[in-house]
């Protein structure tokens, strides 16, 4: 396939060149099963790394930090809607931990928006596959991470 065609395809998928997203998601997120995950990994290749977790409450700031340290331009988590967490407070904890991580990024001098939290709406649930391009759109404006600048991309 020609380079121009490939570039066009990338833009269609709302995935700016060379951006890598680490995405953590709770197993309750619709379309978050094994088969869907493998399909997404095939489609996005190195641009997307998926991390299913039993509950978004299991997410620790260090998971987000390590992702940014090692390979990601941005690290996001998808949680269940308020009140819908199977373990009651997991999504609330995730929110606090993302906020804490943002504070740490600000102290380092990185944009806090490199980490983010997505909460589905109970009325119009979206699948994992629907969220991915949406999240790439949200992080589109971010420059390649200066942490990874020296790494081979």
């Amino acid at each position: 396939m020609s380079d121009r065609l490939l570039k066009g395809l990338n833009l269609k998928m709302n995935q700016p060149e060379n951006q890598t997203l680490a995405l953590f998601y709770c197993r309750q997120v619709p379309g978050g099963g094994e088969a869907e995950r493998r399909a997404l990994e095939r489609r996005y290749k190195e641009a997307l790394r998926l991390f299913p977790i039993p509950c978004s409450g299991r997410l620790e700031p260090v998971h987000l930090l390590k992702a940014l340290e090692e390979f990601a331009d941005a690290a996001y988590v998808i949680t269940c809607p308020e009140g819908a967490c199977r373990y009651f407070e997991g999504n609330r904890r995730a929110r606090k931990r993302v906020a804490r991580t943002r504070g740490i990024l600000a102290a380092i001098g990185l944009e806090p928006e490199r980490v983010g939290l997505i909460t589905g709406s109970p009325e119009t649930p979206r699948t994992l596959a629907e969220w991915v391009p949406e999240i790439f759109r949200q992080i589109q404006h971010l420059a390649p991470s200066p942490v990874l600048a020296t790494a081979v991309r």
Binding site: V62, K66, E69, I104, V147, A149
Partner: protein
Amino acid sequence: MITAEQKPFDEIRGMIAPYRRLLVLGCGSCVAECAAGGEKETAMLGSALRMAAKMNGEDVRIEEKTLDRQCVREFVVLLDETLDRYDAILSLGCGAGVQAVADMYPEIPVIPALDTEFIGETKDQGYWVESCVGCGDCMLYEFGGVCPLARCAKHLLNGPCGGSMNGRCEVDPEQPCAWQIIIDRLGRFDALERLEAIHPPKDWSRKQGRGPRKIMREDQQR
């Protein structure tokens, strides 16, 4: 437990600036309990420092390790074999932990990542409050289990002062007036007459010491 808070990130960066090989050392005891220096916080700080270094083009090796306790020799010696990999240790222990490590390894700089604060209790999740000043002469019996030295802003032994309003302290209205609590507590035990007598001046020498205080127990020694 001893409580502490992490120093501002920039201050830590400033102190570790001269060193190329750094060990970030956590402690699994008090500072883990107050979410300042435990294994989690050590991992977070290590990652943050590595990212900041990369962004600034600094060639440093930053690694993490957490000891069960930094203030006990038996745990600190576990570092013996690893220390020649590092130029400096960034300790997330309390002041006692930092110094125990520094005393054990005087040849390597040990830098504090935390500001140690007080002896206190975990009143609620994420909420710690001072309750003991280590005076060496505990008077909790006389005051119904409430220490006026730690919990009264002016550490009055014959309180309350004239600024106690609605059970709040005039110095920090967020805090309850310790003397109101003492009076309520002793009232409940029917022991208010304990407060009629004038409590004599405190023997502060038990707290002040003559330099750093110590305890020697022969029955506990080898």
